[in-house]
């Protein structure tokens, strides 16, 4: 660890992993509810489990992003963090807000939660991924601003690199676009239109800046390739991200009451969205091939390469699969969407956070890399999780295709619930793959507790 203030990243990373575990457990509950409908009913109805599953995902990724930037920015800026204390306070505020929110979801009927938390003052709840009560939403804004402030102040007082600049821009975008979550008009079409300004412009826009910056940082560290080269390509890749991704928002505007021309704009630009991901894959492998040093942390290299490949598969390929309007007409709102969502979030965001943790955590614990035994376990967990999520995606894709056929294309369309019965075999298989994923995650967690001789940090 070069700067003592980098240590604030540690609690963020630990919280991220803990919440990740929670996310997976609730995912398994939901997966079972797909086939055993009354499992845990009425204690945890499906909608509650889903809310917890998706919200935990968002929160743990945010924890990961924050921890990563608190680790990365001091090193990039070659100075201590502007205010480590603020980072720690922010951590506890965010953790408390997150925990209270999840407990609220689990213990109180959602309608009562809405009433108690001032939803009548400003309707913002009850929209997918934005289910958080008003105080939590305000809290997220405050936490994001505190994070942004701390990082920007650090960058300003130290060296300004492309990586910290891109990261800061991504964070700024994250904070700004989240503000649209406070806009909830009665007009359903407008509601949905601007809802995507949070959801799409986050995951297919500004988050990709954060992703790119984090990946570039790790690649510089583990390959020793010239910073100029890596930062140049970082700019090129995120340019393509914005060029394709911003108008690519249009692929959500086909069937929600928005004008038909979005079918063209959305199809064309979102069809190009795989390009930046493909460039990222080529770039990551290129840099690793051109490496000038053998970094002792082999696991981190694996996570980094895994990110670039799985992001391309999940966000790029599986996104492309159903992004063209004529295909999306049949695929919209089916298990195919779920398949894409799972692989994309895992491949792009879960993996990049795990990459960062894999690189930073040993350093935070006072060594360049973990002992070999721990690294081997980590790699095992990578393969277990990656292969099982890939199978989850395949099973959901299968479920989606059959669903589309039976419910939407067949000359005698079946009802939604009847189709669900037909595809239960896919759901069972998915649940099985989910269990393997859980095992992978547990192996990952165990890898932190493996002892052995490790090289001291230089």
């Amino acid at each position: 660890m070069k700067y003592t203030s980098q240590a604030v990243a540690k609690p963020y990373f630990i919280a991220a992993i803990a919440l990740f575990l929670g996310q997976i457990l609730f995912g398994l509950i939901m997966g079972l509810q797909y086939v055993v409908g009354d499992f845990l009913f009425p204690a945890i109805p499906f909608n509650v489990a889903r809310m917890v599953h998706t919200n935990l995902l968002i929160v743990w990724l945010l924890f990961g992003f924050m921890g990563a930037s608190y680790f990365l920015v001091p090193e990039e800026s070659e100075t201590e963090l502007y205010c480590p204390k603020l980072a720690i306070i922010t951590f506890w505020v965010f953790l408390a807000a997150g925990a209270m929110t999840v407990l609220g979801y689990l213990l109180v009927p959602y309608a009562s939660l809405a009433k108690w938390t001032g939803n009548d003052l400003l309707n913002t709840m009850g929209r997918e991924f934005l289910e958080q009560p008003l105080p939590t939403k305000v809290g997220i804004v405050l936490v994001a601003l505190s994070w942004l402030f701390n990082i920007v102040m650090t960058v300003l007082k130290g060296r300004k690199t492309a990586i910290s600049l891109v990261l800061s821009l991504g964070m700024l975008g994250l904070a700004v676009f989240f503000l649209f979550s406070f806009y909830n008009p009665v007009n359903l079409v407008k509601d949905k239109f601007y809802w995507w300004w949070v959801v799409h412009l986050w995951v297919e826009g500004v988050w990709e800046l954060i992703l790119g910056a984090m990946l570039a940082f790790v690649l510089i560290k583990v390959t020793g390739v010239d910073r100029e080269v890596i930062e140049k390509w970082l700019y090129v890749i995120i340019t393509m991200t914005l060029v394709t991704g911003i108008i690519g928002t249009g692929h959500h505007y086909y069937w929600i009451g928005t004008p038909a021309y979005w079918q063209w704009w959305g199809s064309i630009f979102s069809a190009l969205e795989p390009i930046p991901f493909f460039m990222m894959t080529v770039f990551a492998f290129n840099m690793v091939n051109k490496r000038r040093r053998e970094h002792p942390n082999k696991a981190a290299v694996l996570w980094a390469l895994g990110t670039s490949v799985m992001a391309f598969l999940g966000a790029g390929l599986w996104g492309f699969l159903h992004t063209l309007a004529p295909v999306n007409y049949y695929a919209h709102g089916t298990q195919l969407t779920a398949a894409h969502g799972h692989l994309a979030f895992y491949g792009a965001y879960a993996l990049v956070v795990l990459t960062m943790i894999s690189y930073a955590m040993p350093i935070l614990r006072g060594r360049a890399a973990n002992p070999e035994k721990a690294q081997i376990m980590e790699m095992w967990s990578f393969w277990l999780m990656t292969i099982s999520i890939f199978f989850i995606t395949l099973f959901l894709t299968g479920a989606g295709i059959v669903q589309i056929w039976l419910q939407r294309i067949s000359p005698t369309p079946m009802s939604f619930m009847a189709v669900q019965d037909q595809i239960s075999i896919f759901y069972w298989a998915r649940e099985g793959a989910g269990l393997v994923f859980l095992i992978g995650l547990l192996v990952y967690i165990c890898s932190f507790f493996v002892k052995g001789d490790s090289r001291a940090i230089e």
Partner: protein
Amino acid sequence: MSATFTKSMARNVFYGGGVFFFLLFLALTFDTMKVLPKRDNSQNITPAVAHGKKLWETNNCIGCHTLLGEGAYFAPELGNVYVRRGPDFIKAWIKGQPTGVPGLRQMPQFNLSDMDIDDLIAFLKYASEIKTNKWPPNIEG
């Protein structure tokens, strides 16, 4: 690869390209907002519809159902349920939950008053009349 390929130019292209496409997006958004009244059925938004939407949200219906294809994929699409099932069926259905049939997916009982359910149905009727470019492909959603 080309010899002239500088980081500063890559950065300029990033800023220029980002701003350019965001402005284009704003222009398209502007046009969309102008055209929307012809498509979004907003002339039929009554206080009942507004209340219905709030009930839709505060009971987290989107946590299981899709609405115009967006939401969770656990339970049927409700954007066109008004057309598919009609108001009476919907009312009876909401009141009759949960079915309690072992092993089947269960919808919670939300304890809504008759008036609340009517408003919710008004909202679903409004949603079903939005011009969605003929989506869903058929009545099953």
